[in-house]
Symmetry: C2
Subunit: 390 residues, 2 copies
Amino acid sequence: MNNFVFDNSTKVAFGKGCVREHLPEFLEGCGERVMLAYGGGSIKKNGIYDEVTQILREAGKTVTEFSGIMPNPTYAKVLEGAELARRENVDLILAVGGGSVMDCSKAVSLAARYDGDAWNDFWRNQGTVDFQPIPVCVIVTASGTGSEVNGEGVITNEQTKEKLGRDYHACNARLALMDPVYTFSLPRRQMVSGGFDSLSHMMEIYFGKPDGPNVSDDLNEALMRGVIRDLRASIADPEDYDARSSLMWESTMAENRIIKLGKSTDFECHMMEHALGAYTNCNHGEGLSVLHPVYYRHIYQDGLTKFCRFATEVWGIPAEGRTKDELALAGIDALAGFIREIGMPTRLSEIGITEENTDLSEVARSCEINRGGYRALTAEEIEQIYRECL
Amino acid sequence: MNNFVFDNSTKVAFGKGCVREHLPEFLEGCGERVMLAYGGGSIKKNGIYDEVTQILREAGKTVTEFSGIMPNPTYAKVLEGAELARRENVDLILAVGGGSVMDCSKAVSLAARYDGDAWNDFWRNQGTVDFQPIPVCVIVTASGTGSEVNGEGVITNEQTKEKLGRDYHACNARLALMDPVYTFSLPRRQMVSGGFDSLSHMMEIYFGKPDGPNVSDDLNEALMRGVIRDLRASIADPEDYDARSSLMWESTMAENRIIKLGKSTDFECHMMEHALGAYTNCNHGEGLSVLHPVYYRHIYQDGLTKFCRFATEVWGIPAEGRTKDELALAGIDALAGFIREIGMPTRLSEIGITEENTDLSEVARSCEINRGGYRALTAEEIEQIYRECL
């Protein structure tokens, strides 16, 4: 097991009714001025906006709204929020939404208190800050990214065509409120995309050394089997509380740092998706669903032991009668079959990316190379993977 | 999934060399006066005492020693430490040891700042306090209890013959330093006893509702299979770093609150052991190893679904060809076989407890009844279980 440091300051309150139960007490300990951050307005249709604003009124807070946070939130939007937060001198950012809203809000919490060029200093050059960002509380309405329990803010800079993120501990939310019922009204496409994003996080963590017995891989396999089971059950019945709550908690467990401990992680597939996303604004989970099987067929021989284990432990494929290569490929085929089963895209063309509208060579050259997986790709290989995905 | 709140403030630094790497920086943020708490002196033989005191000297700290903390730490010892901590006005308690040293130190951290009757108000009547206990940093030299990552302090009151504990969040250590190499010199009996204590925590959490698919049970099964595997490997080679580090981290994962989330837990076996321990001062892990199979044979029909799952998922026993009763009992038999395999006691007489020297009826009547498992026992049943264990 590799050495590690674990530290996670986010408090989580989980379950039906948790917002009404826990938000008022949390608000008592905050200042008077709250910035309510949300996305395109679905929370006004499903009643969540009304519930939250009523609690804020009862708590006597002065509320500033910061709405219209888009999927793949832009750095321009972060700067808009930061300017608003400074002008209104807010004491708390209350983010109500999914990964995009949470990521943008955490980025705003830092940028609002930073005088320099936050993009360059913080996102691109991984700098640190010596102040406390504005406190953030998140109310999760769409699960998948795990953003509720880490310091990650994945932001797209449209000018420089970069989509960057990092898990910066000071940006962890103080409190995450997770009511599975709040996710019931999510469109199926978003639910499935979020669920696959969780599975992707787990796989990106899984496919790295060590290959021998270790706690991270043991827990990870349990989570992967769980997310596969619970995504199927959630598709069958989107109001199955047990399935939706397990699915929600599995996505949190994938990104609360626990299963990353003691091992190297890959995340090259996320890097390839981020590069594509910066150029095309594609849906994150859908970009991942296209890339994963193709990427894994490229690298499986460098991590053959783990890919065999993936086949037997996650997909229940018997090792008997198969060579290691056959077993590993059968596991990747099972993953590809699951992607088709849950109705996710398997080709970039299905999500609007073609050779005609996207310079895949340029995208590939912009892609960050991770060193934690079984093989560090070259830009040429990344381009080749993109082309195979068309 | 049941509603829950998760919150764990302890920072963990894990791995070979972590004390030298992380303790100096942590000490910078503390005051000048440090109480160094430890047990019977084994840390003076294995070099850990020298390493830690040198770091304290380099940091210019004024050190007060609080030594001789015994297994099953007593409330008298807690009061002794509290008196010393007050007199020396310590800013930090640095606990170096296993569960007993950590538990006692956390209890001291609270009692030192409490003017009333801490035993009555805090341990027995589950009161709360409105002050911050003295900060605690733990350096783990024996794993098993998981005390490094929670607020638990299990303390024996010799006068009232009570052994009580509770997970009080304000008592969480600020920093836990976990170097697996520090556990290498532990005698085999203690290593095995600690490993079984971890498995016991996992089982106590596992045997509670829900019985359907849920994240806690999924993760727990992965941890149980891991602790069984890694305890075997650690017995075969006590200096197998991978096995010892996994074993250490599994015991932490069992008690950092994560796998308790969303479900009811039992811990009746711990209660039965605590009652026995208060009267006989028996070894905690060994008391548990005697009690578990007998207790489970008593209650398995009330949790038949989960006991069948335990047999198939943890012990790999095929369900085919067995009735549910047979399958459940085969799982308990496998547990009993493992206890014999690792050389732990299976009879109370082996750990010095007999009908002649212990009033089992009185012990049973003093035992706390938990309500989270599959059946709440009566005092008569507890006495019967004790007698079957003789």
